[in-house]
């Protein structure tokens, strides 16, 4: 594949980087990334991956754009209110970069569709807002052998980790099971500072890009935590749980399954 003049100019700030170059940019253009959740985390991740020229980006979300989303979900604008989030996201991404293909999946991701959804993608970004979905994405990615970035944000805090098959612990190694509904507050209940999605979602995009170009150190085996009020980043080493139910030596989870969802999370 030869670059057009327009592509050379569009991606010139990438191509000039020794870690990217023409080779890395081609890898990005050939890569397929799936973003689950077009919200606080998914919005900035989608914007940067689209701008970076990730050739195929899937985005899955069942919701419509709501006024309370616009404080942080920067891929959607006020005229998009009421529109399907995946449609709004697709339009913004294609406006930023007509060079890419955006696949919009207007659906709840669940045990009965996740394996099909992730099958075609090289890297998955978890931008969901509830524990059942986060565990589902973890299990499916482990079972399918797909790398993914997990993240969570609340109030003035955020955290993320990267799973690459065979290279470190999965989310379930660290957190065995979802907490009971209501035991740990969600963003809707507790609030979140809008820019937190920008920080953590952009870091997720960065992990995807590094994975695709094969450069640098990924957050495999580490949890990066960010406390905005203390202005403190910490990189915490994560052990691998030998007895992990999905990635351990004797797994008991052999196919993805759905946990019950807290009612307040459904919207």
């Amino acid at each position: 594949m030869a670059f057009t003049n327009e592509q050379l100019e569009r991606y010139s700030r990438h191509i000039i980087l020794s870690e990217v170059g023409v080779k890395g940019q081609k890898k990005l253009l050939n890569a397929k990334v799936l973003i689950i959740g077009a919200g606080g985390l998914g919005a900035p991740a989608a914007l940067y991956l689209a701008a970076a020229g990730v050739g195929t980006i899937g985005i899955a979300d069942a919701d419509e754009v709501d006024l309370s989303n616009l404080q942080r979900q920067v891929i959607h604008t006020t005229p998009d209110l009421g529109k399907a989030k995946v449609q709004s996201a697709k339009e913004t991404m294609e406006a930023i970069n007509p060079d890419i293909t955006v696949n919009a999946y207007r659906t709840f991701v669940a045990a009965d569709n996740i394996m099909d959804l992730i099958a075609d993608y090289d890297f998955i970004i978890d931008g969901t807002d509830n524990f059942p979905a986060k565990f589902l994405i973890n299990d499916a990615c482990v079972l399918a052998g797909k790398p993914f970035s997990h993240a969570g944000i609340i109030r003035f805090r955020g955290q993320l980790m990267t799973y690459v098959p065979g290279q470190g612990p999965c989310y379930r190694c660290v957190f065995k099971e979802p907490p009971p509904p209501e035991a740990v507050p969600t963003c809707k209940q507790a609030g979140v500072i809008g820019a937190m999605g920008g920080v953590i979602g952009s870091l997720q995009a960065m992990e995807a890009i590094k994975y695709i170009i094969g450069k640098g150190e990924l957050l495999t085996g580490y949890l990066l935590t960010y406390d905005a009020l203390k202005m403190e980043f910490r990189k915490i080493k994560l052990p691998k749980a030998k007895g992990c139910a999905v990635c351990g030596d004797h797994p008991t989870i052999l196919k993805p399954f759905d946990y019950e969802q807290a009612e307040c999370d459904l919207k």
Binding site: K134, C187, I236, P239
Partner: protein
């Protein structure tokens, strides 16, 4: 006893278990916290028996569910 707790060196009087440290440090949602000591997970349900030693490094890992 000297411990490194969430990256900060601290001094504690006497010996402590993980459960006692969780209480002293007023850890949020203590029922759902994941604890590692010297980069090994402490199985939940054993915090009361898990004795800490001078020089141990303890991390608390919290559920964070938001994202949309």
């Amino acid at each position: 006893m000297k411990l490194t707790v969430a990256g900060t060196q601290k001094e504690y009087a006497g010996n402590l278990t993980v459960a006692q440290l969780i209480e002293l440090e007023q850890v949020e949602t203590p029922e759902y916290v994941t604890v590692s000591v010297n980069d090994e997970f402490i199985p939940s349900g054993t915090f009361a028996e898990a004795v800490l030693h001078d020089g141990d490094s303890v991390e608390f890992l919290y559920f964070m569910g938001g994202g949309q």
